[in-house]
């Protein structure tokens, strides 16, 4: 108590000092001692849980929580950004992988087209590819270097369905070249062969077709039974082609068409 405090002066500190006088009696401490002894013995006998050392280690490592957490967040961010950019960076690699996956399809389809002469088909397919190459190269701007044409390989954009169509077209060309040219011109096979060519610039007015052309395309579509599915399962496409486009059927479809001068006759 302060010496200068008068008898009638009472402060918060004086009131709080009253709490120091709240003390237990002696009996309380006897009871406390007994309970304490029991608990102490129990603590000695009781085995410590197996995870107690881990808690101790964790409490010692508590000071490193912030830097470790920040490092983990940075690493996660870096990995996320890196993974996000990966497809863009390896676009060429992806294309080459696509080409590698498509390559066996060519051989399979050659095997499937028993009726079509192998040498002729290869030659025609190569011609189509080389034509597409030429087309891509010719449509390149003059200022652009040839490296773009090297990076974007035309073969890589072929879908299995495109390959099947190309094989069919090759077979048709082998038998009736005129009809094949007509089909190619009318149905726009060049676009199907290379639908995603980034360097091909097409005048929008060229895409506008006359109504008669579209009607003809619809009628001719029945001859092309294999449709583009967008999938890359080559075995599935080969199976579909084997199932839906036999030699007889191809021949029957072709025989329905007749070209005379500027007319196209179709028999149903």
């Amino acid at each position: 108590m302060r010496n200068d405090r008068t008898k009638s002066q009472v402060t918060v500190e004086d009131l709080l000092s009253l709490k120091r006088a709240e003390r237990p009696d002696a009996e309380f401490w006897h009871q406390f001692e007994r309970e304490m002894r029991v608990k102490q013995l129990a603590a000695i006998v009781e085995p410590r849980p197996f995870w107690a050392p881990f808690i101790r280690v964790g409490s010692r490592m508590a000071r490193f929580q912030l830097p470790v957490g920040a490092t983990a967040i940075l690493a996660l961010t870096f990995l996320t950004v890196r993974e996000y950019r990966l497809p863009e960076a390896t676009d060429t690699q992806f294309i080459s992988q696509s080409v590698a996956s498509i390559a066996p399809v060519n051989t399979t389809e050659v095997a499937f087209a028993n009726t079509v002469e192998t040498t002729a088909q290869d030659t025609i397919t190569e011609n189509i590819v080389s034509e597409a190459n030429v087309m891509v190269a010719s449509n390149e701007p003059a200022a652009e270097p040839a490296s773009v044409a090297v990076e974007v390989q035309p073969e890589s954009v072929y879908s299995p369905a495109d390959e099947a169509i190309a094989a069919n077209l090759a077979a048709v060309r082998a038998k009736t070249p005129e009809l094949a040219r007509l089909i190619a011109r009318v149905s726009g096979v060049e676009e199907i062969i290379n639908p995603r060519s980034p360097s091909k610039v097409v005048d929008p007015l060229v895409r506008v077709k006359a109504p008669s052309t579209s009607r003809t395309s619809r009628l001719l579509a029945s001859a092309l039974l294999v449709k583009y599915t967008g999938g890359r399962d080559t075995r599935g496409s080969v199976t579909r082609v084997e199932r839906g486009l036999t030699e007889d059927r191809v021949y029957d479809s072709i025989s329905r068409f007749g070209v005379k001068a500027d007319r196209l006759a179709i028999s149903f």
């Binding site: 008898k7 009638s8 009253l18 709240e22 102490q40």
Partner: protein, 206 residues
Amino acid sequence: MVSSPERQQEADSDWDIVQRVQAGDVAAFDELSIRYRGRVYGMIYNMTSNREDAADLTQDALIKAFQSINRFQGQSSFFTWLYRIAVNSTLTHLRKNRRRTFFSLEKVNEDDRQSAEVIEALTDNTGAERNTFVKELQEKLNEAMQKLSIRHRTVVTLFEIDGLGHQEIAEITNCSVGTVRSRLHYAKQILQAELQPYIRNEKRPH
């Protein structure tokens, strides 16, 4: 941190006993327990305002200290280390039982000169009326303490009731001295408002 020579002497004595316990003399811990159980109990009691809880928490704190005494390296005084264990146990208990507030109060020892002066300053009554007034004042004091947040209550208990210094409180509560001062100032303002009817700032006319 040891502030006064008495505390330094006490800390040296404690360190000797601790080394004996660490060497395997388990019974030596009883000396430490008897030496500090009253102060630890008082601190916990003033924070919880419940004598049963205070007794349990004091025992738990002493047993924790006993179990962990091999890890005590003497970087602080044993008293500060034991108080830190007790404060942390009490804070955990209070946070778990935030809604439960049962008062179980000790009797005010009026043999204490300081408290007798305060009571005499507040009332002229004697006998049963005086006892009733003391009881009422005690309840008001505990109610006011319970209205403080746990952190503010801890600082007020350690400074005003246990008489620890700011630096010791900062070590025990693991915060800065400035924070201790700030919490103490804020807590006193609240207590002053709560205990206004019992505060006498001027001389009473006789």
